[in-house]
Amino acid sequence: MIPEALALSAVLFTIGTVGVLTRRNAIVIFMCVELMLNAVNLTFVALSRLYGVTGQVFVVFVMTVAAAEAAVGLAIIIAIFRHGQSVNLKNINLLKG
C-alpha cells in the first residue's frame, strides 16, 4: 500500500500546485498551500512504515508550522483587506511600477 500512498500524495500535491497557480483569491491560495502540506505529510506517514517512526514525529512538526503559517498568513490577509477592501490578487499590486 506504500506505493499507492506515495502516488496519492503526488496527485494531491499537484492538485494543490495547480490550485495555487489558477486561483486569485488569497484565502483559497492559502488553503491550496495547506493541501500541499497535507500531501507531504502523507508521504512522511507512508515512509515511516519503512524507515521507523521518525516520519510521524516530523508530521507533528509540519502541523505546527502549518498552524503558525495559517495564523500569520491570515493576519496578513486581514491587514491587506483593511488596506484595499479586497483579497483578490488582481487588486494587490502595491509593488507594481
Partner: protein, 181 residues
C-alpha cells in the same frame, strides 16, 4: 497492517484515496471560498483515515483535531469576518493563459513522478523491502510518537514553542487596527 493486506483493507484504502482526490478536485474548482474550505475539510478527514490505515493512529487523531478542527475553522472564521462567503460575479479563477500554464506545470509534476517510478536508484537509496515499523500495535498509539519526540527530538520540540510564540505575537500585531494601542 499485516504482511499481505486483505481485500477489506485494500478496498477501503482505495476508497479513501479516491475520495481524497475527488474532494481535492472539487476543492480547487469551487468558486465560493466557503464550499472550497468544506471540501478541503473532507480531504483532511479522508487523509486522517489513510493515516490510521497506515498505522499512524495518533497522527490521524491530531489530523482531525488540528487541521480539520482548528486550522480550517480559522480559515472559515476569516472568510466570514471579511464577508467573502459569496462567490464573486467575476470568478477568481485565472484566464486562459494562467490555466494553460498551471495545467502544463501540473502535467510536468505528474510526469516527474512517472519518471521517478521507473528510475533505478543506487542500492543505498533503495527503500528496505520489509517494514521496520509495524504500526501502533507494538507500543501503543501515542507512546510510539511521544518517545522519539521527547527524547531524540526534544530540542526541536522546545524550539517549536518559540515558533508558536512568534506566530501568536505576529498575528496579534498584524491583525491589530491602526491607532488602537
Amino acid at each position: 497492517m499485516p504482511a499481505a493486506p486483505g481485500l477489506f483493507y485494500q478496498v477501503h484504502f482505495y476508497l479513501f484515496g479516491l475520495l481524497a482526490i475527488a474532494s481535492a478536485l472539487a476543492f480547487v474548482t469551487r468558486k465560493s471560498p466557503i464550499s472550497a474550505a468544506l471540501w478541503l475539510v473532507s480531504v483532511m478527514f479522508n487523509l486522517a483515515a489513510l493515516y490510521v490505515m497506515l498505522g499512524a493512529h495518533f497522527i490521524g487523531a491530531i489530523q482531525v483535531l488540528v487541521y480539520a478542527g482548528a486550522i480550517m475553522v480559522v480559515f472559515l472564521f476569516v472568510v466570514m469576518l471579511l464577508n467573502l462567503g459569496h462567490a464573486d460575479e467575476l470568478s477568481d479563477i485565472r484566464g486562459k493563459w494562467g490555466r494553460l500554464a498551471a495545467g502544463g506545470i501540473g502535467i510536468a509534476l505528474l510526469a516527474q513522478v512517472m519518471v521517478l517510478a521507473r528510475t533505478r536508484f543506487m542500492p543505498s537509496l533503495q527503500p528496505p523491502t520489509n517494514p521496520v515499523f509495524g504500526g501502533a500495535l507494538d507500543l501503543g498509539a501515542v507512546n510510539n510518537v511521544a518517545k522519539p519526540l521527547f527524547t531524540e527530538h526534544l530540542l526541536a520540540f522546545e524550539l517549536t514553542s518559540i515558533l508558536l510564540l512568534a506566530a501568536i505575537v505576529g498575528a496579534v500585531v498584524l491583525g491589530r487596527r491602526k491607532g488602537v494601542a
